[in-house]
């Protein structure tokens, strides 16, 4: 490990002059902020601050869980809301910690970068007076060569081993060779820290300029989806994105293929879609759970799938309407729940007026494989023995009020007030594919079959590659930094005594600048090569 000189306060601060106080305060705070200790404290704070986000439900991860939390802890939840407990990673206090950390990082890295560039450009420092004080030093040996020649040979050898070496002539006629290796360690360390900045920028810009939306896409040409905000079930745009920025494409689900293990565990999902981009020709593309559909300016991820029953309702006046309604899976066996709503039915042809008291809805479950034991859940996720279990409701569906509501369940408020009534009793009515259910008022519901649907997440993140490049560079820097070793060696070549005898007396010393257990071996090998080269 490198010994890091901390940038403490200067040894002798000049006597304070008036007007300089603020400047001194600023400078001292800056020094504090960019010290290793502060970095350590901030790192620790960041770790601690991240914990609540795993304890409390996070809106960005699962908004529904937050709602449930509100119901379960009505007193606590508003408080948590105030301090950002449901949006920890977007909260000001979390941001202030990592922003401080990154300011500290810049303040720390820039001077080190300058120092390092300087160190790379100046020569390796000259040998110390006495080698015995160094962690490694050799015995003396003699050589027949002149000091200058011996030093040159050794310097050459060292350069071959990728040391930076410098030969100096001393006043007493001796020569020294100074050599250092392992600059990559510091380079790597700086690269790592700078890359962290790149990652932060990548993540931040992705948040500002990215967008995403979710959409259930039912199979069939009549159920296509085009990329506009209104067509999403839910969506979220970054602060710098407007609805007009969304790229232009349309998708139609033409096929969905799911295979399952005999236990019911899913094996593979694959969706086949017909895509048109920017008004071009339609092309057929297939994508799977781990292999998203990459489009111009967006990628489409397959998150899940399910079944959408096709229902035809023929009202008391004989007018028929057909709906394809996705039922959402509630368990791993694809037991699915949903509701088919028919607001525009039972319109008296004489008056042409819609009677809200006669709106219809069918709510219930779809089981792709009915369990042998007659339980209310599916026994297998594929459609081996499908059946629909429905309850009919009549009355005001509450759709005209204008408040946005889930299309997957009935308005419980309307049921509570009696505006919407269960008209077929507590036991849901079973329906197999092709069967017709005739209600008391003579209207009919037919179960025509199902279509598959795919749950899609559509996203765009312009800077995720920047974050990736930053992370990969950072990792390379980290490895250089952690696994590299920095060390110096010196050789001294003294003219033989008496000087007239010719020849040279040589000695070597070595200093590992990092915690490097292999250094004694390397040093011994360097000395051995030097002995051989100068003999």
């Amino acid at each position: 490990m490198t010994i890091v000189e901390e940038r403490e306060a200067p040894p002798a601060a000049p006597p304070p002059r008036r007007g300089n106080r603020i400047w001194a305060l600023l400078r001292n705070s800056w020094r504090q902020l960019t010290s290793m200790r502060t970095a350590l404290v901030l790192l620790f704070l960041l770790a601690v601050a991240a914990i609540p986000g795993s304890v409390f439900p996070q809106r960005a991860v699962n908004a529904e869980k937050v709602t449930q939390y509100y119901t379960a802890h009505p007193k606590l939840a508003p408080w948590l809301e105030k301090i950002g407990g449901f949006e920890v990673y977007a909260s000001p206090w979390f941001a202030s910690i990592y922003l401080l950390l990154f300011v500290s990082l810049i303040g720390c890295v820039v001077p080190r970068l300058i120092d390092h560039v300087r160190a790379l450009r100046i020569a390796v420092p000259d040998a110390p007076k006495r080698f015995e004080r160094l962690p490694q030093h050799s015995d003396e040996w003699t050589s027949g060569q002149e000091p200058a020649a011996a030093a040159a040979v050794i310097a050459q050898q060292l350069r071959k081993r990728r040391f930076r070496a410098k030969v100096r002539e001393q006043a007493d006629g001796s020569f020294t060779v100074s050599a250092e290796k392992g600059y990559l360690k510091e380079t790597g360390n700086l690269l790592f820290h700078i890359s962290m900045l790149a990652v932060l920028i990548g993540v931040g810009f992705g948040h500002w300029y990215g967008w995403h939306g979710n959409r259930i896409l039912v199979g069939g040409a009549d159920q296509g989806f085009c990329n506009s905000l209104t067509q999403y079930d839910d969506s979220s745009l970054g602060p710098r994105v407007t609805a007009a920025d969304l790229p232009n494409f349309c998708l139609k689900l033409t096929d969905f293929d799911a295979t399952f293990q005999s236990t019911g565990q899913p094996k593979t999902f694959a969706a086949t879609v017909s895509v048109t981009q920017n008004g071009g020709a339609a092309e057929t593309r297939k994508f799977t759970v781990n292999d998203p559909l990459r489009l111009d300016g967006a990628s489409v991820h397959l998150l899940g799938h399910g079944y959408a029953p096709i229902l035809r309702y023929t009202d008391r006046y004989g007018v028929a309407q057909t709906k394809v309604v996705p039922f959402l899976p509630v368990d791993a066996m694809q037991t699915s729940e949903g509701v088919a709503q028919f607001p525009d039915v039972n319109i008296d042809p004489k008056t042409g007026r819609r009677d809200t008291k006669l709106q219809m809805a069918f709510e219930g479950r779809y089981l792709p494989t009915v369990a042998k034991d007659g339980s209310a859940t599916s026994a297998f996720p594929a459609e081996n023995d499908p059946a629909l279990y429905l309850t009919a409701y009549q009355g005001d569906l509450g759709l005209d009020v204008g408040t946005p509501r889930s299309v997957y369940s009935l308005d419980q408020g309307q049921i509570a007030t009696g505006e919407l009534k269960n008209i077929t009793g507590a036991r849901p009515h079973p329906l197999r594919v092709g069967e017709t259910w005739t209600l008391d008022d003579g209207s009919k519901l037919e179960f025509l079959g199902t279509r598959p649907f795919a749950t899609l997440s559509i996203r765009y993140d312009p800077t995720q590659s920047l974050a990736l490049v930053g992370a990969v560079l950072g990792l390379s820097g980290l490895m250089l930094s952690l696994w590299g070793q920095r060390r110096r060696v010196w050789f001294r070549a003294l003219p033989g005594t008496p000087a007239s005898s010719g020849g040279t007396l040589l000695v070597a010393g070595g200093l590992p600048r990092t915690d490097y257990p292999g250094f004694p071996d390397e040093f011994a090998s360097l000395v051995k090569t030097a002995e051989e080269g100068t003999s």
């Binding site: 490990m1 490198t2 620790f44 990673y89 593979t268 292999d291 998150l303 997440s457 915690d515």
Partner: protein, 332 residues
């Protein structure tokens, strides 16, 4: 096959237990075995040559003086201790092989890599921890006295895995079926395994250091016979410095790449992701602290131990306490 895997694991736990008992036997018998003494010398040299960094670690020569050579066992006893120690290492290696067998048969039974759920994940991680420990003890016999604590940690974690997390063999959910998943999980497992075993020298360093400073209450008394503090501290750093880039790659690069392909976002603060992030930050803090001269080595090592706690949280806690996309443990 699945049944065989369970039996092999039971055998492995037993073998670890026996190894632990033998390590304990050696520990109790010999004050310092031959190799302990013989190895202490080159070790001292190493320490002398090592870090010029100032540290709170007493130089080993001082430590040697401080440790009272209270009982110098007679040669016969010493030899017996030596023998028991060797048996312990043998048993340890046997346990490692059984552990490997349990993993392989599990993989064969499921027809995929044996890390599809929490139980298998813990099995793999502890295997890496055990293999790294075996590598350390085989190349540096002088750390053999740590064996008692290393095997103890392994037995406890394997026991916990079987009791809390056991899951019957099952296939992967489709999201887990990708080669990025294999890269992600294997590197996280290797990194975590090394971190886990790194906690053993870390804890023993703190204990030994306390003992050297004259503390004589439990648990410092355990420090009497473990290798010298500087050696333990260095080993701790080595293991962590090796594991950190691996974990960085596995959890913060390969993981997000896979998550992007499969869930559409590379990072979503799912509880498992949160805790991987926390572990990473804490270990970065450890490396930082160790590089900061004004922070004592003991303080730095405490940070490494906090890192260990966060790893345990990630191994056991997150799957048990929180619900997220990663909680495939309960999918079966």
């Amino acid at each position: 096959m699945a049944e065989l895997s369970n039996q092999l694991l039971a055998a492995a736990v037993l073998a670890y237990l026996f190894a632990m008992i033998c390590y304990a036997g050696e520990y109790a018998f010999g004050k310092r075995s031959h190799i302990g003494k013989a190895a202490a010398r080159p070790a001292r040299q190493l320490v002398g040559a090592g870090a010029p960094a100032p540290s709170s670690v007493a130089p080993s020569s001082v430590a040697d003086d401080v440790v009272p050579d209270d009982i110098v066992p007679p040669p016969a006893r010493r030899d017996r201790a030596e023998l028991i120690g060797r048996i312990a290492v043998g048993l340890n290696v046997l346990a490692l092989l059984l552990h490997l067998g349990a993993l392989v048969t599990r993989g064969v039974a499921a027809d995929r890599m044996p890390w599809g759920n929490m139980y298998e994940y813990i099995l793999s991680t502890t295997f890496v921890a055990s293999a790294v420990w075996a590598g350390v003890v085989l190349t540096r016999p002088k750390v053999r006295h740590l064996g008692l604590f290393a095997t103890l940690a392994l037995v406890v974690m394997l026991g916990a895995a079987s009791l809390i997390a056991y899951t019957p063999v099952g296939p992967l959910v489709p999201a887990l079926n990708s080669y990025w998943f294999i890269i992600h999980v294997s590197t996280v497992i290797i990194g975590s395994g090394i971190f886990l075993i790194g906690a053993v020298p870390a804890a023993m360093f703190l204990i030994r250091n306390g003992y050297d400073e004259g503390k004589r209450s439990f648990p410092y008394t355990l420090g009497k016979r473990v290798p010298e503090a500087a050696l333990l501290e260095r080993l701790t750093f080595r293991l962590h410095a090796f594991a950190f880039p691996l974990f960085t790659f596995g959890a913060l690069i390969a993981g997000p790449i896979w998550a992007e392909a499969s869930w559409g976002r590379y990072w979503g603060w799912d509880p498992k992701e949160v805790w991987a992030f926390i572990s990473w930050i804490v270990y970065a803090g450890y490396l930082h602290a160790r590089a900061t001269p004004s922070v004592k080595r003991t303080v730095a090592t405490w940070i490494a131990l906090i890192g260990f706690v966060t790893m345990l949280m990630n191994l056991f806690g997150v799957n048990l306490f929180f619900e997220g996309l990663h909680s495939y443990a309960n999918a079966g």
